[in-house]
């Protein structure tokens, strides 16, 4: 029992340290540098340690956090102190908890112990992720309410409506993938994408559920409340929306949860649609290339390759979201709602129906 | 350390239900009354789930599924009514909505 618990804790810690925080930090850095490139400027480059600015990494990952943490934590007068303090925590924690069921690798063989590289194996894994995602709305709502500020309140209301609306499309999009994989466990889903179609094409989810991918990606961006869906915080209208009245570490937590959600969406997209930790043609015993070529690879190396693949995919989709953010303009509120309810929702429903029909017909045929 | 007896769950459920019922009866704010109703429903859900476990039948959980659906529908309609009420009466207090007509 002790060993098992240690392993679980280890897996969670590894996931957090190796992927979530790294990618998140990378995301912060990306955010600054990529936006600078897009806007034809230099970006963060001031802070340096012994003259090493490391392309702004020092600035974004060392100087900025320190500054955030050391700033005065201002709490406005006449606010609900308890809720005001709770809101950022409620925003960050569910997003982090959602990672508990994300598989970041297949298995790790240590001696005769086979470790499943997924912190928690739940038979309702995907629903668990949705549950956590739906909880993160509380941070927004409570922050908006507790700040005793009109901009905050408006942001909170917008946030709650937006997140509830897009959750539906998101969940419905996932139903299509569940029907295809016939499981709710994310690790099982990742493994199901391991075979090859016609002997050469990796059977990744994007091939089966392209529509679901588009819907999920869109809804995911909306869930993380980033441009073009950043109406809850839209700085040109509501100052900073629901976290207008936050400063210091609490503000940092909101910023972090923002990026954690980006990483979460990337992780889910990776697992659901892009093979998760799968490396094309790499199986437990080595590469089975098209044309019956075979290259044997040691088990440990396979695991490392898979971890690397997962990380790269994660980074790619994080980068993709940042590019989206810095490319598109913000929606109007009515456009946002119309897209969610009249665009994505019917599309997702149609996707479910078509998927179910096809699966049914194929089962009949088989 | 054995498993918790089913009756403990039932007792917890009864207490929660009573709290919810009291809330429905004494609070003035319609939204809080609604929340208390949800509390009652959840107390009953606990009973269903506990008995489903002790009887070894999933049917109890299926009922919970239905209860949730009904609760969601009820919340949607109920909150819409409250919004309409505030528009016309500018109150959310149960004792100020006693004319039994619109």
């Amino acid at each position: 029992m002790g060993v098992d618990a240690a392993i679980i804790a280890g897996k969670a810690l590894f996931l957090m340290l190796a992927f979530v925080l790294q990618v998140m930090a990378l995301g912060v850095w990306f955010e600054r540098k990529v936006s600078a490139v897009i806007q034809d400027r230099i970006g963060a480059n001031r802070a340096s340690i012994f003259g090493v600015a490391a392309m702004g990494i020092v600035n974004t990952l060392v100087a900025d956090p320190i500054k955030f943490l050391l700033k005065e934590d201002v709490t406005p007068a006449n606010v609900d102190h308890l809720l005001h303090a709770m809101a950022p925590v409620l925003s960050l924690v569910p997003a982090l908890l959602a990672f508990a069921v994300i598989p970041f690798g297949d298995v790790l063989q240590v001696g005769d112990r086979v470790i499943n590289l997924q912190p928690a194996s739940l038979n309702v894994g995907l629903l668990y992720v949705l549950a956590m995602a739906s909880l993160s709305v509380y941070g927004v709502v409570l922050a908006g309410w507790a700040s005793n500020n009109r901009w905050s309140l408006l942001g909170g209301i917008r946030g709650s409506a937006q997140m509830i609306s897009y959750e539906i499309a998101m969940g419905l999009a996932l139903i299509g993938t569940v029907v295809v994989y016939n499981t709710l466990d994310l690790q099982e889903m990742a493994r199901a994408q391991g075979h090859l179609l016609w002997g050469w094409l990796p059977a990744w989810g994007i091939l089966y559920q392209p529509v679901a991918f588009v819907i999920f990606m869109t809804a995911g961006v909306a869930e993380s409340k980033r441009i073009p869906f950043d109406l809850p915080e839209s700085e040109s209208e509501l100052v900073a929306g629901y976290f207008t009245e936050y400063s210091g570490a609490k503000h940092l937590m909101f910023m972090m949860s923002d990026f954690v959600e980006v990483v979460l969406v990337s992780a889910l997209v990776t697992v659901l649609f892009f093979g998760g930790w799968q490396v094309p043609w790499l199986f437990r015993d080595g590469f089975h290339l098209p044309g019956a070529a075979f290259v044997a690879v040691p088990s440990l190396l396979v695991t490392i390759l898979q971890l690397t693949a997962f990380g790269l995919k994660l980074i790619f989709f994080t980068w993709l979201q940042i590019v989206i953010r810095w490319t598109l303009p913000r929606f109007r509120y009515d456009q946002l709602m119309r897209l969610g309810w009249q665009g994505l929702l019917p599309l997702a429903l149609a996707n479910v129906v078509v998927t179910a029909l096809v699966v049914l017909l194929l089962e009949r045929a088989a | 350390m054995g498993a918790t007896p089913t009756s403990w769950y039932l007792v917890l459920s009864a207490i929660l239900f009573a709290i919810g019922a009291a809330g429905v009866l004494v609070r003035r704010n319609l939204i809080v009354i609604f929340m208390a109703i949800e509390l009652c429903l959840n107390a009953v859900n606990l009973t269903f789930v506990a008995l489903a476990r002790s009887l070894g039948s999933v049917d109890g959980q299926v009922i919970v599924f239905f209860v949730m659906t009904v609760a969601a529908a009820e919340a949607a309609v109920g909150l819409a009514i409250i919004i309409a009420l505030v528009r016309t009466r500018e109150t959310t207090n149960a004792d100020e909505v006693a004319t039994l007509r619109w």
């Binding site: - | 019922a21 429905v24 009866l25 004494v26 009354i33 149960a94 004792d95 909505v97 006693a98 004319t99 039994l100």
Partner: protein
Amino acid sequence: MVTDVSWLRWIVIFPALGTLFHVFVGGRAKGAVKLVGPGVLLAAFAVAVAAAMRVHGMEEGGALRDALYTWIVAGPLRVEAAFRVDALSMVMTLIVTGIGFLIHVYSVGYMHDDPGFARFFAYLNLFITAMLILVLADNLLLLFVGWEGVGLCSYLLIGFWYQDEKNAIAGKKAFLVNRVGDAGFLLGLFCLVAYTGTLEIQAIEHQHLDTLRTAMLGGWPVAVVIGLLLFVGATGKSAQIPLYVWLPDAMAGPTPVSALIHAATMVTAGVYMMTRLHFVYEVAPAALAVVAWVGAATALGAAIIGVAQTDIKKVLAYSTVSQLGYMVLGIGVGVAPAAIFHVVTHAFFKGLLFLGAGSVIHAMGGEQDMRKMGGLHAHLPTTFATMLIGTLAIAGVPPLAGFFSKDEIVWGAFAGPHAQPILGIVAYAAAFLTAFYMGRMLFMTFFGTCRASHEVQHHLHESPSSMTTPLIVLAILSVFGGFLPIPHLVETVVGHHAEEGAPYSMLLLATGIAVGGLVLAWVLYVRQPELPGLFAEDFGQFYQLVFDKFRVDELYDAVIVGPLFALADFIAFRFDPGVVDGAVNGTGFVVAETSSIWRRAQTGNVQHYALSFLLGALALVWYLARS
């Protein structure tokens, strides 16, 4: 002994289908109605004949039974919807379908130009359906269904030309008077259920007869009470004193209806029912005596009234009442087979006479008053010939049908199991009067000079063949019907009674009475037509009384109808506005006055309602958790 079959139902289903056809299709397809109306009767007749062959082929007392389904199960009471054909119901079924077919054919011609042609046949088929249910029923409840069904059809057909209020009133009268009888019938059924727990005729006969004999109800043996109550039903349906008053008025309906329902079939239902339940009466001699006296009184009284009637159909109507009295008398003196025999022969010759009268009325352009007829034999030869046969048959001239059946009843009065010779003398008197008024009718209609207007005379014509053919068939039956072995057949059901045939002296006496009556009529209405007027003057008051039918209707109006109307007026204009409306208004008043108190309970606050809800739930939980 009893064979179960599943095709008897078709006897009933065919006319029922006919009804549906007439109702839903008939209005747009008169040509089809002409075929379907009689056609379904022919089909039913064919099935009935098949049933008769089967029963005939069986040993004595055999029967066919067709159980459709279990109709009612209420505690120990269990009623099946089942049909049964034994010798008795076989005779009745053949009469109903056979005579019914002839009259349907006749109606095709008679009602040809009537706008309600399809409706008429719908009613007629429905009547046949109900009548067949009545005679085929294996239990008294199903019999009662048919009993009520024929009553309904009778009402509908009497008031067929309802645009004339007189007809509608006649129909209403028939229905209401029958209700009185039906009430008695129902009470009889209740008593039967109460004491025997069943309504199955066979079960009562074979298992519960001792109960009926020994049990007492209000100081009387139950059998007597039940017998009298059922007889009340029979007096209504079979037009006996005191409930006969509806039948003469029922002549308001189309003449084929009078022939079919109010002469040949429906009115014999009471006789049939009492024959069916002969075993009840056998253990209730007291009831039987009442039956005999009522029958004899009806036979004589109606005959006397018949003498003074001028409407040709009224004469026949009172004649029918009188003949029904004969049948009931036959039951009363214990010769039920003879009564059924008379039912059959009466169906022949009275059906014939009514149809003939219809032919006359048809020819006269709707005129029914005999004082405006006369000398018609030249214009209506076939009608005259057949009606002559009918008259001779009803008068009891041998060897025609009426002679045999009537003679058996009269002889039963003298020598039957429950003989009452004085009633035999009454019967002879009635027979004489019968011969007299029938002769009177015949002579006034067909002899002498025509008293009708020139226009009517100009249009006189013989009826079409669809009307005369049934007349001829019925005339043949009236001639030879007396040789049918009906009494023997019925005896296989009701049991034998050792009795000798009537002595020749009595046969001679009967013949003499019949001929005497006819001769007297001939003298009074052909040879010396001025005499009746003189008689009428000499017996002024008595003649007027007879002419006014003993003023029984007036008596009923004064004693029963008047008080009832007064009571209804009281209820409608005093009791209802005062007490009923008063109670309603009073309730409203009390509510209105006290509601200022009660309405405090209705705070409108949803939580107060929820609180009472919770308290109720609390009480419920407490109640359930007591143990």
